[in-house]
């Protein structure tokens, strides 16, 4: 068997850049001071965080002081949604989100729905695009918050955030717009100011940074109730001693990503195209991800094949992908994203997600194509 791993699961997490690892080792070994300490070591650690904050602020075109570090995408989403709702309870009791959000957003909205809020979950079409007319109808003067993700993690669908923002603000200029940009940050250039985004969630490990670090952009002037209360770090928005090596690594990863953002986009577009066409030409399969979605994500259905079985066969050849939905014979939970898009069950059960990064090569696509051509006929159910 090939020793080398082929990793096509970059929407789950990515391999950290060598530079990120080097930097973090350094920080762990030498800069272990607590940023809150008054002495030199504390100040040196604080500088690292400042640098990372400035770097991320720059890439987004926002003020460094509008970036708050968290433990990752989920915490950023929690802080944005819970933090804003809890701080602005009097402004309204209506919330809007889409049916295809990540669970870390969707589950919070369900929680508030069970606790007296009215929540509208906007439908999506077969490409996963939010129904803008429905959105237009739902935003009212009671709407406290709308949360729509930028890029869907299962399908790569890219939402027209600027249009969405205009619709939201036209109907109620006080409705705050939160965007989960975990799958977009470092891949699509976004300026929250221009796009009309009030809060935006980011994650480090999806862009070759370390796990356990993320950030939330909050436009100046918005009041949030913190979830973690204590020593007042991150301008009291997120107490707890800062994860200095993680934040520093995040800053470096963001820097490298943005530096190569166009080249990487082009590279993964080619890889996605080759893999998609190769599969469509050689196998009985269909593409679930939309034609003009993120080039980082390809979602394909191989009808008659159990996705998890194909996944394990590929893993047996050191090729790592993801299933469209967690599916085992005992616990059939179908992807809420694909179900909302109206994808039929036999496609959902056989959906495989390939997600790419700068580290993938054309040769890997060819090997994977060969492997899938071999495996699929073997594991297809007899009919």
């Amino acid at each position: 068997m090939r020793e080398k791993k082929i990793y096509f699961d970059n929407s789950a997490t990515t391999r950290p850049y060598d530079k990120v690892i080097e930097d973090m080792v350094n920080v762990y070994a030498s800069n272990y001071g607590n940023p809150s300490s008054l002495h030199t070591m504390g100040i040196n650690s604080e500088k690292l965080i400042k640098e990372a904050r400035r770097s991320i602020g720059n890439e987004l075109g926002v003020k460094a002081s509008e970036v708050y570090f968290t433990s990752g995408g989920t915490e950023s989403n929690s802080l944005a949604v819970e933090g804003y709702i809890n701080a602005n309870l009097r402004k309204g009791n209506h919330l809007v989100t889409s049916k295809t959000e990540h669970p870390s957003v969707l589950e919070i909205f369900k929680y508030y729905e069970n606790n007296g809020f009215t929540v509208d979950y906007i439908n999506v079409d077969h490409k996963g695009m939010v129904d803008l007319e429905e959105l237009d109808k739902k935003i009212s003067d009671k709407t406290l918050m709308a949360s729509i993700m930028m890029v869907n993690n299962e399908t790569g669908t890219i939402q027209p955030i600027e249009k969405i923002s205009r619709i939201v603000k036209k109907n109620n200029r006080d409705t705050v717009l939160h965007v989960d940009a975990v799958q977009a940050f470092g891949k699509i250039r976004t300026n929250p100011g221009i796009s009309g985004i009030d809060m935006m969630s980011l994650s480090s490990h999806k862009i070759h940074g370390p796990k356990g670090t993320g950030a939330l952009f909050v436009k100046k002037g918005f009041r949030l109730n913190p979830i973690l209360i204590g020593g007042g770090q991150e301008a009291s928005m997120r107490s707890g001693t800062e994860n200095v090596p993680g934040i520093s690594g995040f800053g470096i990863a963001a820097g490298i990503c943005f530096q190569n953002i166009e080249d990487t986009w082009e590279k993964v577009s080619i890889l996605k195209g080759k893999l998609k066409n190769g599969l469509l030409e050689n196998l009985d399969c269909i593409e679930i991800s939309p034609e003009h979605g993120s080039p980082y994500i390809l979602n394909m259905a191989f009808e008659g094949v159990k996705a998890e079985v194909l996944l394990h066969h590929l893993a047996g050849e050191n090729i790592f992908v993801s299933t469209g939905s967690a599916c085992s014979s005992r616990k059939n939970i179908r992807s809420h994203v694909l179900s909302s898009m109206g994808t039929k069950n036999s496609y959902i059960d056989s959906a495989i997600r390939f997600s790419f990064s700068i580290f993938n090569e054309l040769e890997e696509v060819n090997i994977t194509l060969g492997a899938i051509k071999n495996i699929v006929p073997k594991i297809k159910t007899k009919r």
Binding site: H312, A326, S329, K382
Partner: protein
């Protein structure tokens, strides 16, 4: 005051001439169960086993739990061992009772005494009465209630005096290793670990076989089976787990045999492989988690066809049990939470929509003729991975 663990033996006390064989095994098994928790001596005397820590590093509370899992013990007590004179006993008793009254807020108690050493000057009721009086004097908030006390204070007078307030029931059974060895067909489900536990409880040493169908099942399903075997080994002592690659056999059956016979043929081959592994490991029987009528392969017809694949005795301790009862045991022995993890196991991948519920041996054997069963079995056994869990 010395804290020790007192374990009471169950039915092995009824054994006749070979009682010492059972007792020796029990002492050995207890030693194995607590070895990693520190230094202690384990001695048996008159139907009791005394576990006495040799120093303060001994992890007493963990040892209580570990000893309670050893088969052959009906109950255990954490006990204070003191000199055998009434003054010492009363002094320690007051100290202990104060402590538990403080912790639990008990209001009533009684004293029960057993005088095994008849040279002790006071008779049992006298000890109980006088000790009760001393306790009442020192702890005025308590009163005596002989019918339903909040707690009972026990005194046992032997070479030493053993005083305690707790009797924790254990699992009973016979010491593992007193009834030879059998091989458990261990899947990732709820039933098979329980079946293994029940046989180990009757003194049977366990060998385990798992059939692994990667990449049709996930590597996590293998980890799950290893975890289950590890939990079982806390009761049964070390388990040798044979992980048999089964994918090639399954695909072969899937290709060559009728769909509605897949499961039954698969199970027959599993039994055959398990039998061969048993023969190579001095194991004398097979154990399965089958329960009458639970699924298509567990009808009386299907079971007899499966059974015909081997000549060893096959023990099915769950055969007459309802699922609810099995689940109760699985929860008690703490395999349930692991068993219900959702990874696919080998039984659920290649399944026909309508498997035969009344297979006939003749037909099944005819289908099997299409397979080179012998080569398949030899290849699988050659590639088997063995892991010892203890």
């Amino acid at each position: 005051m010395e804290r020790i663990i007192l374990a009471r033996c169950g039915e092995l006390m009824l054994k006749g001439l070979n009682r010492s064989f059972f007792e020796k095994k029990l002492v050995k098994n207890i030693n194995n169960a607590i070895r990693h928790l520190g230094d202690a001596t384990v001695t048996k005397k008159q139907g009791r086993v005394y576990i006495e820590p040799l120093n303060d590093n001994f992890k007493f509370d963990q040892a209580l739990k570990a000893v309670s899992k050893v088969f052959g013990i009906v109950s255990i007590s954490p006990v204070a061992k003191v000199n055998c004179d009434f003054d010492t006993i009363s002094e320690k008793a007051v100290e202990m009772v104060k402590d538990i009254v403080n912790r639990h807020g008990y209001k009533t108690f009684k004293v029960e005494t057993r005088r095994a050493d008849k040279s002790f000057p006071m008779k049992s009721p006298e000890v109980s009465g006088k000790l009760g009086a001393v306790i009442l004097e020192n702890i005025p908030s308590l009163s005596v209630d002989v019918n339903s006390p909040s707690f009972t204070f026990f005194v046992e007078i032997r070479e030493w005096a053993y005083i305690f307030t707790q009797i924790v029931p254990a699992n009973g059974g016979l010491p593992v290793g007193t009834n030879g060895k059998a091989t458990l067909l261990l899947s990732g489900g709820i039933d098979s670990p329980v079946a293994g536990w029940m046989m180990a409880k009757r003194g049977v040493e366990l060998e385990a076989v798992h059939f692994y169908s990667f990449p049709y099942t996930s590597e996590r399903s293998k980890e799950k089976v290893i975890d289950l075997a590890r939990i079982l080994s806390e009761y049964s002592g070390p388990i040798k787990l044979h992980i048999v690659p089964f994918t090639d056999i399954q695909t072969e059956i899937n290709e060559k045999c009728p769909q509605n016979e897949l499961t039954i043929i698969m199970r027959r081959i599993m039994m055959e492989i398990a039998e061969r592994i048993s023969q190579n490991n001095n194991s004398l029987a097979l154990i399965t988690g089958e329960s009458m009528g639970q699924v298509a392969s567990q009808t009386i017809q299907a079971l007899s066809v499966t059974n015909a694949a081997v000549s060893m005795p096959v023990f099915r301790p769950l055969i007459g049990m309802d699922k609810d009862d099995v689940v109760k045991i699985a929860r008690k022995i703490e395999t349930f939470e692991t068993s219900i993890l959702p990874y696919e196991d080998c039984c659920t991948v290649f399944v026909a929509k309508h498997p035969k519920t009344r297979p006939e041996l003749m037909h099944i054997e005819r289908s099997e003729k299409k397979l080179d069963v012998e080569t398949m079995i030899i290849n699988s056994i050659n590639d088997t991975e063995v892991i010892t869990l203890k």
